[in-house]
Amino acid sequence: MHNKSIAQLSASLRGGEFSSTELVRHYLERIKNLDERLNCFVTVAGDQALQAAEMADQRLREGNAGPLTGIPIAHKDIFCTSGVKTSCGSRMLDNFVSPYDATVVERLQNAGAVMLGKTNMDEFAMGSSNETSYYGPVHNPWDTDRVPGGSSGGSAAAVASRLCSGATGTDTGGSIRQPAALCGITGMKPTYGRVSRYGMIAFASSLDQGGPLTRSAEDAAHLLQAMVGFDHRDSTSADEPVPDYSATLDEDLRGLRIGLPKEYFDEGLDSGVGDAVMAAVDEYRKMGAEVVDTTLPNTGLAVPTYYVVAPAECSSNLSRFDGARFGYRCDDPDSLEDMYVRSRGEGFGPEVKRRILIGTYALSAGYYDAYYLKAQQTRHLISDDFKQAFDKVDVIMGPTSPTTAFAIGERSNDPVTMYLSDIYTIAVNLAGLPGISVPTDLVGGKPAGLQIIGNYFQEAKLLNVAHRLQQVTDWHLAVPEGF
């Protein structure tokens, strides 16, 4: 069962081949048997899942099921779920049970999807390796000594090891695309504003965007369809028409103009990954696409800019975690100040603290212009690079991550090196564009990703381009041994 795509599962459920309850039990069993080695889940919500499966079966029997009815998925533990703990990978929220549902959770629930549980993640989504989680690192199913990437590492590893048929994630600087690449699955970050941020615990509000992690572009289309759309509770939600993402998956790619930015193929790129990406590009050539050289001259500014913008916003977004109304409060505070500094000092891990401190510094009196304002200006330059590139090309392609999965512990003591692993994904968030990572051929037995970047609200085009590759190659079908 667990090897089937979402569309296949949906067909089987409707055809009565098996029930959602059976399917959910099967996945719960897999989680029970396999997750010990991976640590993908912070919370497995078995009872709720079985209840939801029963309701889905009811709908299936009544014949009013949608494409996601009865499909078992997992939510990144950053999405608020009422009645089920939402930890955000932090000690700060280890005791937090949200009194309300995130829009994404509500929408997937309304679509009939069944939540199996909540997936592990870097603490407050701050990390590229899933090592900053309060609940311990997630292991990459392709090599359990290696990281799955982050911050949506739990979701990526769970989908790759087929502990769920799809999962949600969030992407602030590459947090869906990079773990998708490192785990050999498909992960999409939609256009900023496409997926509601309501109930998605904020890291950096102007960059955060939710999206799907799945085993194929076709599955991504199904999951994304249920996630997107205008939400009146999110002021930054885009009131744009939502196309039928599955309808255009098979469109012909002849004449598609693919831009390869030279800055994405520089000396920092692992040559094996570079070759795998070029092999994927060749497949597109064969399909009749036109490949042109393009340039994104300010690429080098992306990481520095990001490490001002994201920490600045996070330093303010995370001020609400103060021990007063929810979440962690230190033992026996002897004053208000003591409650603040110890609750926050003990509740947050080192990476979160680093970013809060950097952000606080960047916004503080005397430094605002040099850091925050400057970063907003360089952000503009980065965004303009894409604008110019999209005058001449339909999509931009390149590697998702400069390397395959690195070893657990390898970079955890060197924040700056860790930050540079997001060099190809970060600019997309700064510009607010949609991007998708799809598996290339394995590189030395490990997955790598091709990143496809589109213009604003071109999710349908990206899914179409990704899907066509998956029709002519079987790279996305590779599965890690032992799972």
Binding site: S98, I201, T236, S316
Partner: protein, 480 residues
């Protein structure tokens, strides 16, 4: 040395919206603690703000009323600091680009001349909750019902030179926001709060170091606190000490200001544009619809009262104090057909009775139309102005309309010439010595002495004789 006082005010007016500025929770005052604090107001993880249209509309109305430049593109910013009544650890406010830019209002000074006070800006922001310090086992209780209530912070230029001017300005802003219907102005409930920046300097010098006075919840306290603070600063400077830039709290019981925190501990608020909110763009149609039912504002009304009704500047000023009072006056005047008389009565007897009873004009037991009818009875000679006082008292204590009171108490003026003639004859007959003196006096003196006879006649008639007729008859009879 001659010292000059420099004052600027920051006024926080709670906007009279139904729901909060960024959430759909109610803003009603006085609910049980935390029953009107929704997940957005509590700053729960994942929640997001969505701006209330009405709050923007109200800010625009204020901007137009003070002839301000409107911020066609205004931006919400976060003001970051930690305090338990501030759930998110930041207040959503406006910083660089406020919704209302530079404007102005006019105040009347004590000598009756006008002075223009500049308004630097007015911006939208969210109110904080309340900390309750009663004893919860040595802990503080937090009520977040008020958190997220929309505020318009109105910042003046340092244009005021005395506590009286500051009060006149504050009253003017209070009057404007109430006319516009954007704030209920209730100071006890904290709907209208004032902070004053006060400094002194030798005349013509550069600005001195200022202190910010907080907790001024009435116009009287505003005046007293500034006066105390000015004295304090002058004392310090004259004794060779310096004024420290600090926040000071006014203690009404002791009538003094005392230091809250000094500049060293001043917060670094780390303002930056709120990424959860987008720029607010005011287009012409929004502005047009916001101001389409603008009321006549106090200044315009005051001028019209002067021109249309021939009222003195002082009367017009008093009558336009609130829209309700102005409306009261105008309908009484219309009913009576005599605006000056209506103005005298509204500012006189009506105001005095309201003050005595601690009542507002809207709850006056004598309605505008009741007063108008009574005044009409003065105009048409049914009662005298003096008798009218009794009629008014009767109406006030619930004895009915003017006509009912006049009828029931028999207060109708005696205009029957024969009846008055008889009383006049009786008074002349009863006072031969006074008549003799009168006749012996010079003409100029006679006029004065006539008062005695008039008084006697009025007394005999129990005030009901028509005074004009009494005068005429007496003069004729005495000389005759």
């Amino acid at each position: 040395m001659q010292w000059e006082t420099v004052i600027g005010l920051e006024i926080h007016a709670q906007l009279a919206t139904r729901s909060k500025i960024f959430s759909g929770a109610s803003t009603a005052f006085g609910a049980e603690p935390n029953t009107q604090a929704c997940n957005v107001d509590l700053g729960l993880p994942g929640v997001l703000p969505v701006l209330n249209r009405e709050a923007v509309r109200m800010a625009v109305r204020f901007g137009v009323a003070i002839e301000a430049e409107l911020g066609r593109r205004s931006v919400f910013a976060r003001k970051n600091y930690f305090y338990p009544d501030l759930p998110k650890g930041y207040q959503i406010s406006q910083f660089e680009l406020p919704v209302v830019g530079r404007g102005q209002v006019e105040i009347l000074q004590d000598d009756g001349t006008a002075k223009t006070i500049g308004v630097t800006r007015a911006h939208l922001e969210e109110d904080a909750g309340k900390s309750l310090h009663e004893d919860f086992h040595g802990l503080t209780g937090i009520d977040l019902n008020r958190a997220g209530t929309p505020l318009l912070e109105i910042v003046s230029e340092p244009d005021m030179r005395s506590a009286r001017e500051a009060v006149a300005y504050a009253r003017k802003i209070h009057q404007v926001v109430r006319y516009l219907g954007i704030c209920d102005g209730n100071m006890q409930e904290g709907s209208f709060r004032m902070d004053a920046n006060v400094s002194v300097r030798p005349y013509g010098d550069e600005l001195g170091t200022r202190a910010e006075l907080k907790n001024l919840n009435s116009f009287r306290f505003l005046e007293k606190a500034i006066n105390f603070e000015v004295e304090r600063q002058i004392d310090r400077l004259e004794s060779g000490a310096e004024v420290v830039q600090e926040t000071r709290l006014y203690d009404a019981d002791k009538d003094e200001t005392r230091s809250m925190r000094s500049k060293e501990e001043a917060n670094d608020y780390r303002y930056f544009p709120d990424p959860d909110l987008l720029p607010v763009e005011l287009d012409d149609s929004f502005i047009a619809s916001a101001v389409k039912d603008m009321p006549e504002l106090p200044d315009a009304k005051r001028q019209r009262f002067g021109q249309e009704y021939g009222l003195t500047a002082y009367d017009a000023q008093l009558l336009t104090g609130s829209e309700a009072l102005a409306d009261y006056f105008e309908s009484a005047a219309r009913e009576a057909g005599d605006p000056k008389l209506a103005a005298n009565w509204t500012n006189g007897a009506v105001s005095a009775a309201l003050n005595k009873g601690g009542l507002d004009i809207t709850s006056s037991p004598v309605t505008a139309s009741m007063l108008g009818v009574m005044l009409k009875r003065i105009v048409d000679g049914t009662i005298s102005g003096k008798i009218a006082k009794q009629v008014f008292e009767g109406m006030w204590s619930g004895d009915g309309t003017a006509d009912e009171v006049i009828e029931a108490k028999g207060l109708k003026q005696i205009t029957d010439g024969g009846a008055i003639e008889k009383i006049v004859a009786d008074v002349i007959a009863a006072n031969p010595r006074q008549v003799e003196n009168y006749l012996a006096a010079e003409a100029a003196k006679q006029q004065k002495m006539l008062g005695f006879f008039v008084g006697q006649v009025m007394k005999q008639s129990r005030g009901k004789a028509n005074p004009r007729q009494v005068n005429e008859l007496l003069t004729k009879k005495l000389r005759g």
